[in-house]
């Protein structure tokens, strides 16, 4: 009903205008197909994010299948995505993951957007022992459940908060206090908690540390309290609509801090569009930025620049970390199948666990809990209408700007 198979493997081959001999090879190869299942939020609250995953995987698939597929143990395999819309309903994501495994008989699964829904799908994948790659889940609480088949391409939240605290302290030596205000939801809560811990470890005073409930429509009380606490740095986490409202109310109620961080607002174009001038100067961590320059990567894009160019041509807009991480997740998956030499689920799982490769998105090296480790994550800031990278120094294209 809601599902559709991506048949573009055939379409791409035809479009490429390959001659009959190549078509014959393709027809032979069609007997072996790597089937990737993906429950996606294509409607409902997370539709924007789900569509990002869908779009970038289509781009990836077109690229891979334009080359005839992927080489596995000397054979060529076509790749096919089987996706269903779970309508941003966590329970349905779990049910559809089960359907993908038992009914559609996919070889591997991709997790949907967000730590909460990833956790639900991971439990299903674990039950059926199907490898699952999560490209948009970064909360350690998803990975500390003892899952053996779950791997995530985003790095742990804690790495982000420690490097951010250190960077701001270096740039603003008089930085003394921080107010932390997070959404009571898996990822935003984990980030708020990690930042409060990192700030305390770095000797900062946490003058305000509260969570707000999902469905909060007004931040007046919190902003009034933060204003009274007079912090040097305000750190707020949440979804884009929360952050837009929060930043607006900071301004309305006169919260003044030289550093305002909203995770992960500036990583999304809709944040800056929804705030206009108020977005200027807001900082955030992000897992990836297209300014990062990696070369010699596995997969269809050998460099970050090549991915960026293809993405820009296809969609006319800059990719964000969701696009980068999810495309890289597909590269990781193919690499594991190639290493395993087959689509045998246990062999692919073992190959994933041993993964240590460079993708256009950066290095992928899964730790014991299945999370990607050893990545230096960028700090970004809104400068006018542009997003600038402040950290790490190797890819920085601007210096920290204080908010007046």
């Amino acid at each position: 009903m809601l599902g559709k198979s991506w048949k573009s493997a055939v379409a791409a081959t035809a479009a490429a205008g390959l001659v009959s001999s190549a078509a014959a090879v393709s027809a032979l190869a069609a007997e072996e197909v790597l089937r990737i299942g993906a429950p996606l939020a294509l409607t409902g609250g997370l539709a924007d994010e789900g569509k990002k995953q869908e779009a970038v995987w289509q781009l990836w698939l077109d690229k891979v299948n334009a080359d005839g597929g992927v080489e596995v143990g000397g054979r060529t395999m076509k790749v096919e995505f089987v996706q269903y819309d779970y309508q941003t309903d966590g329970k349905r994501a779990g049910q559809l993951a089960e359907k993908l495994i038992t009914d559609d008989e996919v070889d591997v699964l991709m997790a949907p957007f967000g730590s909460g829904h990833t956790k639900i799908v991971a439990a299903v994948a674990e039950r059926y022992q199907v490898p699952l790659i999560a490209c948009v889940a970064s909360s350690v609480s998803v990975y500390d459940q003892g899952f053996q088949y779950l791997f995530g391409t985003l790095a742990p939240n804690t790495g982000m908060t420690e490097s951010m605290t250190a960077y701001f302290k270096e740039k603003m030596p008089e930085l003394r206090s921080v107010a932390v205000y997070g959404r009571d939801d898996v990822f935003p809560k984990a980030m708020a908690s990690a930042l409060a811990d990192s700030a305390k470890s770095a000797g900062l005073e946490v003058t305000y540390n509260e969570l707000y409930a999902v469905g909060t429509m007004d931040h007046s009380a919190a902003m009034s309290a933060i204003k009274a606490a007079e912090p040097d740095w305000v750190y707020m986490t949440g979804y884009t609509q929360d952050l837009i409202l929060g930043r607006k109310q900071m301004q309305d109620l006169g919260v003044e801090a030289p550093i305002i961080t909203m995770v992960t607002g500036p990583a999304y174009r809709e944040f800056t569009e929804g705030l206009g001038e108020l977005a200027d100067g807001v900082t955030s961590s992000t897992w990836w930025h297209h300014a990062t320059a990696y070369e010699g990567a596995v997969g269809p894009w050998e460099t970050t620049a090549a991915f960026y160019a293809d993405f820009l041509e296809a969609f006319g807009t800059d990719p964000d970390y969701v696009h980068g991480s999810c495309a890289a997740a597909a590269d990781v998956l193919v690499n594991a199948v190639q290493t395993a030499g087959s689509t045998d689920k246990q062999a692919v799982r073992d190959a994933l666990a041993a993964t240590e490769i460079l993708t256009f998105y950066g290095p992928i090296d899964f730790g014991e809990n299945g999370m990607n480790q050893g990545r230096e994550m960028p700090i970004i800031q809104v400068h006018g209408e542009e997003i600038k990278v402040l950290y790490p120094a190797a890819i920085a294209d601007a210096d920290l700007k204080m908010i007046d």
Binding site: G44, M217, D218, S220, S224, A225, E270, G274, E277, L278
Partner: protein, 286 residues
């Protein structure tokens, strides 16, 4: 921390809440229909206002009457074509129907407008009085919300249509015997409910982000406000909205923002047990 600031924050928010609930309360009270479309109506009003501002440069306040009219026509049509067919059925039937219609409207908006949060970035500044800071757009929203609520009150009290609506609410059969075309009154009432939602959406586009993610939140608020204030009456929605705004504001300050919403729901549960008619609701009265 200035208690006065918390109180003002709560009152301003409460007036906006009242604007959410008044149309919902009317439809529930008169038609005995729990209108699951209400949150989506508000967001649709917000989108229409946003697009008029973004593409045509029109001020939200100028657009408000047109948006309200569009929503009225939509509400009237939906009631006339669909809901009237089952309006006398048990409440679960109409609830299911409006739930289905809401899924269609909600997903149409998500597909065509995307769930990307939008905002009318008309930052009108703040006013400061006695150390209390209030944003002008919220004050304006509060003024409009109170004005709309008062207008509806006057229409219900003083106009022929208003009296007919009240008559239908009190006794459907007797109203029909008096020559009132009941189905038409139902459609008008539902239309007015949608009109109020559209007007609220136009006001909110200046204050809150406009995104389909918030439809459920608005619907939930409308429900709580109606139970707190009292069903089916305009003053009930106003009192319920103001009470919830002030309670959430103080609860957020005293107990932490994490618990602000919980306190509102706890109050709703208590009232359901000890005073089911709400703070000012009187059964059978409009």
């Amino acid at each position: 921390m200035d208690i006065l600031q918390i109180l003002v924050n709560g009152i301003v928010l409460g007036a906006l809440y009242a604007c959410i609930a008044v149309g919902f309360s009317l439809v529930w009270g008169v038609l005995n229909v729990i209108n699951m479309l209400h949150g989506s109506f508000i967001i649709l009003g917000g989108y229409l206002t946003f697009f008029a501002w973004f593409y045509l440069g029109l001020n939200p306040i100028l657009v408000l009457p047109a948006v309200a009219l569009v929503l009225y026509l939509l509400g009237f049509a939906l009631q006339y074509l669909f809901i009237n067919k089952v309006v006398t059925a048990p409440v679960l039937t109409t609830l299911t129907l409006t739930f289905g219609l809401d899924m269609i409207l909600y997903n149409l908006m998500t597909v065509y407008f995307t769930a990307t949060p939008r905002r009318v970035t008309l930052d009108l500044g703040i006013v400061e009085f006695l150390g209390v800071v209030t944003p002008v757009d919220r004050l304006l929203g509060m003024g409009l919300a109170l004005l709309l609520t008062a207008l509806l009150y006057l229409v219900m009290r003083g106009s022929t249509i208003g009296r007919a609506i009240v008559a239908v609410r009190m006794d459907r059969q007797a109203a029909a015997l008096m020559g009132i075309r009941v189905n038409r009154i139902y459609a008008i009432t539902f239309g007015i409910g949608a009109l109020m939602a559209g007007a609220a959406g136009a006001v909110f586009a200046m204050v809150f982000p406009v995104t389909t993610n918030l439809t459920g939140v608005f619907l939930g608020k409308a429900f709580v406000i109606c139970v707190i204030g009292g069903l089916g009456s305009v003053p009930g929605a106003l009192v319920g909205g103001l009470a919830l705004g002030v309670i959430e504001s103080f609860a957020g300050f005293l107990l932490g923002p994490q618990h602000a919403i919980t306190v509102g729901f706890v109050l709703m549960l208590i009232l359901l047990v000890v005073r089911p008619t709400g703070l000012v609701g009187v059964k059978g009265y409009e």
